[in-house]
Amino acid sequence: MTAPASDLRPPPPQGGAASDPAEPVPRRPLAVPLVLRKLFRRRIVLGAAIVLALVVTLAVLAGLSGFDPNETAVSQRLSQPSSAHLLGTDELGRDLFARIAFGGRYSLTIALLTAVGSVLAGTLLGLVAGFFRRLDAPVMRVVDAMMSFPDILLAIALVGILGPSMLNVVLALVLVYTPRVARVVRASTLVVRELLFVEAARAVGVSTARILWRHVLPNLMSPILVQASFIFAYAILAEAALSFLGVGVPPEIPTWGTMVAGSQQYAHQALWIVLFPGLAIIVTALSLQLLGDGIRDLLDPRLRKSM
């Protein structure tokens, strides 16, 4: 899941380095393929990336196939996993494998939007708080206050207030995870702000906006990327929990959470209807966290030593 990366990467420099006398020192001139090769040198990270690619492909194919995930075949209800129904069927005879693939579209989209939204908002807040001393305390006190609500409780209250819909779930989760990103970005900004190339840029009269965009932001990419992949994973879990509680996505939309919620009373007859959507959540969340760990180790060798 390196998609958020390309959204956040600053545009290529225009007019060459000559127009910018204070080129940031720690920029790595690594080409992307080399970065990926380094990232995937650890087999477990490569495995996680392959699993994620598979999950995404399945979800996309399910969307393109024109299959109706709500089509029922009551004569085949609760049939065990077999060659006709790879993962069995649910209480209305709907093929579980197809529904999980289809549900992935919704679960992944919600989580991706949450990750992108909270990373954008959190980065902005964190940059502002870390770079402008005067705004630091006000912004961070609000962030502290937001973070004193347990994640899931705040998300439940927000969706309850906004009303259950996909967009509102995303909105609520963005509000929940933005402070987390802001805190990490602020901490890194405080460090980068004091580095010599920022001082040099300021000394030669580079504008504040340009310093933030060209000199500070690129050096925050590694913590931001790591946060993005972790929030992606958390958002998958949170969406599932909200939908399970009935305060998330409306039950007729098949996400991994609503699937478990809708079928739980049949679990004693057919454990697989609960088992498999949950496994989809676990596999996806685990892969995302492994990937996040991989990125962190790659970009921050100091952490690798202690891990």
Binding site: I161, V247, G278
Partner: protein, 313 residues
């Protein structure tokens, strides 16, 4: 020292004030009129207006906030619109299952997390370390409601060792109530041990690299002595911190687990309040939980300064 404490206390009060504003704004900015829901389809506009007046919902928002704050100062969280009783009473009635569940879960989490983290750090890079760190990552990826349903199927439905759901008959003994909480506490405890394993391991690794640990080894102390006495004691502060923070996480996680196991706790109360748009209950619960979190955090900060003088500077 006194100055340090005052600054910290000031920060805590500011955060609490912002929490109060946030809670108020969140619940009042909502679309949907709870009074209309309460009175049903047959209510006329006059009926709604009359009941709104009773609850003060017809006043301007800043006035409502002022009134709410004044009541808050008297320890009054308002009246539940649906339960027809004070929010504090509703919360208090539901507090026991949640508190007991959190305590049991934290004990399970600490009993798994701390030893696994220590072993992981001592045998860093070995197979056992990979098993425990793998488990820690897995624990953070498993949805609690799913884990709860699976454990319920195995240990309650199939084996019949524990009740499937509920909190025993009214007036059940403490032992019976604890029996009902074993499965939910296991769900919360096992999943939250992941964080404690990670922190314990990282904290122990930090300390194991210190000079005094090398000195302890150099003077010929046994490895057990070095690890448990010299290293663990110094690694304990961050470990206690993360255990304290897990308590706050538990309260949030309890919302989901209580619903799975049909426990009449605070989490259950909040979920039904959200479904019924019972704003005073949502407000009260959010506020109480956030204040508990802030107070735990502050207590941990104080603990830090008492245990570790380096923090004060």
């Amino acid at each position: 020292m006194a100055r340090f404490l005052l600054t910290r206390l000031g920060g805590v009060l500011v955060v609490m004030a912002i929490v109060a504003v946030l809670v108020f704004v969140l619940t009042r900015a909502a679309p949907g009129d709870p009074i209309a829901v309460l009175l049903g389809d047959q209510a006329t506009a006059e009926d709604i207006a009359r009941v709104q007046k009773v609850y003060g919902l017809d006043r301007p928002l800043p006035v409502q906030f002022g009134l709410w704050l004044r009541e808050l100062a008297h320890g009054n969280l308002g009246e539940s619109i649906f339960l027809q009783r004070p929010v504090t009473q509703a919360l208090w009635e539901r507090a026991e299952p949640t508190a007991l569940l959190s305590l049991m879960a934290i004990a399970i989490a600490a009993l798994i997390g701390v030893p696994c983290g220590i072993v992981s750090a001592v045998f860093r890079g070995k197979a056992i370390d990979q098993v425990f760190t793998g488990f820690a990552m897995l624990g953070a990826s498993v949805p609690s409601f799913w884990f709860g349903l699976v454990l319920m199927q195995i240990f309650a439905v199939s084996l019949g060792w524990f009740p499937v759901s509920g909190y025993g008959e009214p007036g059940a003994s403490l032992a019976a109530r604890i029996h009902c909480l074993v499965l939910p506490a296991t769900v919360l405890g096992v999943l939250n041990s992941a964080l404690i394993i990670r922190f314990t391991r990282a904290s122990m690794l930090d300390v194991l690299g210190e000079d005094y640990v090398r000195t302890a080894r150099a003077k010929g102390l046994s490895e057990n002595m070095v690890v448990l006495k010299h290293a663990l004691r110094n690694a304990l502060v961050p470990i206690v911190t993360v255990i304290g923070l897990t308590v706050a996480l538990m309260i949030g996680g309890a919302v989901v687990t209580e619903t799975v196991f049909g426990l009449p706790g605070v989490g259950n109360l909040v979920v039904s309040a959200v479904i019924r748009r019972d704003y005073p209950v949502i407000q009260g619960a959010l506020l109480v939980v956030a204040v508990i979190y802030v107070v735990i955090n502050f207590a941990i900060d104080l603990l830090y300064t008492v245990v570790d003088p380096r923090v004060r500077t």
